[in-house]
């Protein structure tokens, strides 16, 4: 229900001072309530290339989780009003200029027979 908003517009940036260690974007949950992290899955593509799950850290209210182990997190939630940051380990960061980010999210909603899918695609600029 919030597909068009699940990538926070303009949030793409390199991370790490001077020599970037990677890049990050902010994401939102595409559902009308928060959800335990074990019920959240996603994938990320930048400029048409799949970003390996192992290189992504999912950060929410200051806690860091390896993206490929979210399914095991039974004691934390992603709130409705919270942005979660995806921090990608990518030495050198992204080149300055426009990049297309494609983010898909699957939420294991107990009420529904199959996972709820959200899909957003945004072109954002990284400062030079």
């Amino acid at each position: 229900m919030f597909d068009r908003y699940i990538i926070v517009d303009g949030s793409l940036r390199n991370v790490g001072d001077g020599n970037p260690t990677g890049y990050a974007i902010d994401t939102r949950i595409g559902y009308y309530r928060g959800l335990g992290l074990s019920m959240v899955d996603f994938d990320l593509e930048v400029d048409g290339e799949a970003v390996p799950k192992e290189s992504i850290t999912f950060q929410v209210h200051g806690h860091d989780y390896p993206a490929d182990s979210l399914g095991d997190v039974l004691d934390d939630r992603w709130g409705f009003n919270e942005a979660a940051t995806l921090i990608v380990d990518h030495p050198g960061g992204l080149p300055a200029g426009e990049h297309e980010v494609h983010y898909r999210q699957w939420l294991r909603i107990s009420y529904l027979p199959t996972p709820s899918q959200n899909d957003d695609r945004k072109v954002m600029s990284v400062a030079g």
């Binding site: 068009r4 009308y32 074990s38 039974l74 409705f80 009003n81 107990s110």
Partner: protein, 329 residues
């Protein structure tokens, strides 16, 4: 005819503006109070990012807002995350524990009714009754489209309600079971997304006839040359439901709360698809004395073309309620 039906709103209605940071809890309650929607239904998992660990400060603020705006807490919308683990469903014990958690939170928040979501296992519902009764909380199963009141799934809960005969067990009809006319905001969105106009017309016509073979509609639309958007719309249509409002009458003693679902208030008098002018007289005549709690669900269908104004939509619904409830007289 005199009645004791009260007006309220579920904060579900404002999800778009809350998500976008245009409304917060206070401004949502203030807006509701301004048009007399004085009963506030809450989805704690939406309002509190730290759910279920609400602080005493949050609870105090909740009551302070009600005191400030002259509103009262009504219902608490619960969920049960049966699929919390990928490898297995919750056990009965885990399910009951989840509902007990909600009963405790409902007691703290002063919401006398818990909306029990329809996928709750009946045995969990039954096992949670004693604790709810002890805490003075009512567990109200939401009857949600496309399930009808005589559906096998719902009958399991009715059997429990009648057999256990606890003051804690009852129902919460979502008025989405009375969608008489296919919501125009839904079909218009499909058209913008690439649906085929003549097939959209056909889907609307079929839905509005309320046939007994809705399970064939997607196949039929494929044979008529439907594209994926057309077929998705056909599948969506099978998720709505219309039954006669009189269907509610035998269940009247068990109705704890009503979610007044709506998709589009065309003006201050008319919802496009749900005939409240047929529903409300049935409620009045049969002594319903709970809330009509607005549940606006149009946002997701119009957000691609216009800014969503949920407050205005809820305001219009209440203008209609004022008339239909005779408050203007």
């Amino acid at each position: 005819m005199s009645h004791n039906i009260k007006r309220g709103v579920s904060l579900y209605s404002y999800q778009e503006e809350v998500f976008l940071g245009k409304l917060d809890l206070e401004s949502a309650i203030a807006a509701s109070a301004s048009f007399g929607a004085n009963g506030i239904e809450i989805i704690p998992e939406q309002t509190f990012d730290n759910f279920p660990n609400l602080t005493d400060e949050q609870v105090e603020q909740w009551f302070a807002l009600h005191a400030k705006y002259g509103t009262v807490p009504t219902a608490y919308d619960m969920f049960i995350d049966l699929k919390r683990r990928a490898d297995r469903l919750m056990t009965l014990e885990e399910g009951v524990e989840s509902v007990h958690r909600d009963i405790d939170l409902a007691a703290r928040l002063g919401t006398k009714v818990i909306r029990v979501i329809i996928n709750t296992p009946p045995e969990v519902y039954e096992h949670a009754a004693p604790y709810a009764e002890e805490k003075g909380i009512k567990l109200a199963l939401e009857i949600h489209a496309p399930m009808r009141y005589d559906h096998r799934w719902v009958q399991q809960f009715l059997e429990i309600i009648h057999r256990v005969n606890s003051p804690a067990l009852g129902l919460l009809p979502d008025m989405g079971t009375f969608v008489k006319i296919f919501p125009r905001v839904v079909s218009d969105r499909a058209l913008r997304d690439g649906a085929t106009p003549k097939l959209v017309d056909h889907i609307i016509k079929v839905y509005n006839d309320h046939p007994t073979d809705m399970h064939t509609l997607t196949r039929e639309i494929a044979w008529r040359g439907g594209n994926p958007v057309d077929m998705a719309l056909a599948t969506t249509a099978a998720g709505y439901n219309w039954v006669e409002p009189s269907t509610l009458i035998p269940h009247m003693p068990y109705l704890f709360h009503i979610q007044a679902k709506f998709y589009e208030m065309v003006d201050d008098t008319h919802e496009y698809s749900i005939p409240y002018d047929e529903i409300i007289p049935v409620l009045i005549d049969n002594g319903y004395d709970g809330y009509l709690s607005s549940e606006y669900e149009g946002n997701r269908h119009i957000q691609d073309v216009e800014p969503v104004d949920s407050v205005e939509q809820v305001r219009r619904q209440h203008a209609m309620f004022v008339t239909l409830l005779g408050e203007a007289d």
